[in-house]
């Protein structure tokens, strides 16, 4: 079985984000990491690979630096490393088209990814790629298994969780998974070093990046929080709760 795992490199969740001239300054990001939900997808992919004797294809669309992340995935067991340069990529449709084309090019039978990437926190990639592939998609899953020709997966439901069964080419978007990404070892690292990263461009994939109808105007620091407010007495609880909802937007 060919298992495609879609991965994105993002600023480490602990990294400080600085803005200069209306744009997030990527150079100032001290550490780039694999997006956390993608790690669960990768671990699940590795387990599927072991269970089915399959082949794991790690695919990323991103700048040059993202190749490092692919090499890291090879150290834990990815077989094929695919880098799609993100030149000319400016909206969700572009990324999805490129990823879907790569999934096809590498003859994948199943696609695993994170429910959302920790930079844009969008969540469009899994379902969008599924649509372009005419595949089923289940999101917020915590594990994926393969038996008797079908995939089974666990997703949340109103009353707890539910076990969902899917046939054919399917996309699974991971929430926090049931197992953490395994640690590499020196042997894996030595092998990873020898594993080439295949660069596949949009023209290799036959994808035409038509001009986007979304334009980024600017990126800015988040609005300053108002100064702390103190209320004397429990009778203010309701007022504070409505502030939490309407000012702070956290409940």
């Amino acid at each position: 079985m060919n298992i495609a795992v879609l991965l994105k490199q993002v600023p480490d969740t602990t990294a400080k984000i600085t803005i200069s001239e209306g744009k997030v300054d990527e150079k100032s990001v001290s550490k780039w990491s694999m997006s956390p939900y993608d790690e669960y997808a990768l671990e699940s992919g590795l387990q599927l690979k072991e269970a089915t004797g399959g082949n794991l294809i790690a695919i990323t669309c991103g700048p040059e630096r993202a190749k490092k992340m692919l090499t890291d995935t090879a150290a834990v067991g990815a077989d094929t490393l695919v880098h799609i340069p993100d030149d000319g990529v400016s909206d969700s449709t572009h990324v999805q088209k490129l990823l879907a084309a790569a999934v096809k090019k590498f003859d994948s039978h199943v696609v695993l990814c994170g429910k959302q990437a920790a930079d844009t926190n969008g969540g469009s990639t899994g379902p969008g790629v599924a649509e372009l592939l005419d595949a089923a998609c289940v999101t917020l899953v915590s594990e994926v298994n393969f038996s008797e020709g079908s995939f089974t997966t666990i997703r949340p439901s109103n009353s707890g969780t539910e076990k969902v069964i899917v046939d054919g080419l399917s996309v699974f978007a991971f929430d926090k998974g049931s197992s953490e990404l395994r640690r590499p070892n020196v042997r894996g690292i030595m092998m990873a070093k020898k594993k080439p990263v295949e660069s596949v461009t949009s023209s290799d994939l036959g994808v035409n990046l038509n001009p986007s109808n979304v334009k980024m105007n600017s990126q800015n620091p988040p609005p300053e929080k108002p100064a702390g407010q103190k209320f004397e007495g429990a009778e203010y609880v309701n007022e504070v709760v409505s502030k939490l909802r309407n000012e702070a937007n956290v409940i």
Partner: protein, 306 residues
């Protein structure tokens, strides 16, 4: 510009965010077409101001959530600008409709102005991004970021039967009481300190945690002296947490405690001592005993949930 809104539902009725989606469209001077999947809430939707027409979408595919099938069934009913809630299901349906139509999707938008210019948080809120859309797009709106529309309307309802192939099947429902989250993964944490008096009183905090899906945390005093499990300890020698909302009850705010929670997006402190250092980092402080404040907080929060 015409807006199509795909209603967010909650059991048999509309979810409050549907009112916000409609309110957001109205604030752009637009009337909207509201699609109610499976017909849920269509009568209710017809009463909301700013709704021009309601489409009650019926079909077998709506009996189970399969984003692909729902998108197939709904996408032909949608116009140029499509608004959906940035809930997990909303994001999934929106992404598939966008991909089907070959138009971009912009997720988790918190403001929208003429143009159309939208802004959304990126990097978990460490920055904001402003985008201008020219042409068709799907936009998902963050719940509670927009003013809700009022309900004094009477729009027509069209029933459209449109099903699609469902590709997933539910093999087994696993019922379980939703487990309380761990402090490191929760978006809301309610922590108690020595001011709670006894460990038994933490049940009041647990009740609140269960209504809002929060985790319960503790100061070290509670862990050391009353035997609360160490995994609940927040602070320098406990967990470092960064939830959207941290509620500190009966916690003085010692520097070692602050070290673990001061990066929370918002902090609400409840303490009877107006000079407690916790108020120095709190965005909202209530000077009161927990005995007075917690029951009020509990009822205010459960009112919000329903």
């Amino acid at each position: 510009m015409d807006f199509t809104i795909i209603a967010e539902t909650n059991g048999d009725s509309l979810h409050p965010t549907t009112y916000q989606l409609i309110g957001a469209a109205a604030s752009m001077g637009s009337n909207s077409t509201v699609i109610c999947p499976n017909g849920v809430g269509s009568l209710e939707a017809a009463k909301i101001n700013g709704v021009e027409k309601v489409i009650s979408a019926t079909g077998d595919c709506f009996n189970i959530f399969d984003g692909g099938a729902w998108a197939s069934a709904l996408s032909s009913m949608c116009g140029e600008m499509i608004l959906i809630s940035a809930s997990p299901n909303g994001r999934e349906i929106g992404s598939r409709i966008a991909a089907k139509k070959g138009i971009p999707i912009i997720q988790d938008v918190v403001s929208m102005t003429e143009g159309i210019t939208v802004s959304r948080p990126i990097y978990s809120g460490k920055a904001m991004e402003s985008l201008t859309i020219s042409g068709s797009a799907v936009v998902t709106l963050r719940p509670n970021a927009f003013e809700a529309a009022l309900a004094e309307n009477d729009a027509p309802i069209n029933v459209v039967n449109q099903s699609a192939d469902v590709r997933i099947a539910i093999q087994e429902a696993i019922n379980k009481a939703s487990e309380r989250l761990d402090v490191t993964e929760a978006d809301i944490i309610i922590s108690g300190g020595r001011g709670m008096g006894t460990i038994e009183n933490f049940s009041h905090l647990e009740e609140i945690a269960d209504t809002v899906g929060a985790a319960v945390g503790a100061s070290r005093a509670v862990v050391d002296e009353w035997g609360m499990p160490h995994r609940m300890q927040v602070g320098q020698t406990g967990k470092t947490v960064t939830p959207s909302l941290y509620i500190a009850v009966g916690i003085s705010g010692a520097i070692q405690h602050l070290a673990g929670m001061r990066s929370s997006k918002y902090i609400l402190a409840i303490n009877k001592d107006p000079d407690a250092p916790i108020f120095g980092v709190a965005d909202y402080g209530i000077v009161a005993t927990w005995e007075d404040a917690i029951p009020a907080l509990k009822s205010a929060l459960s009112d919000l949930q329903s």
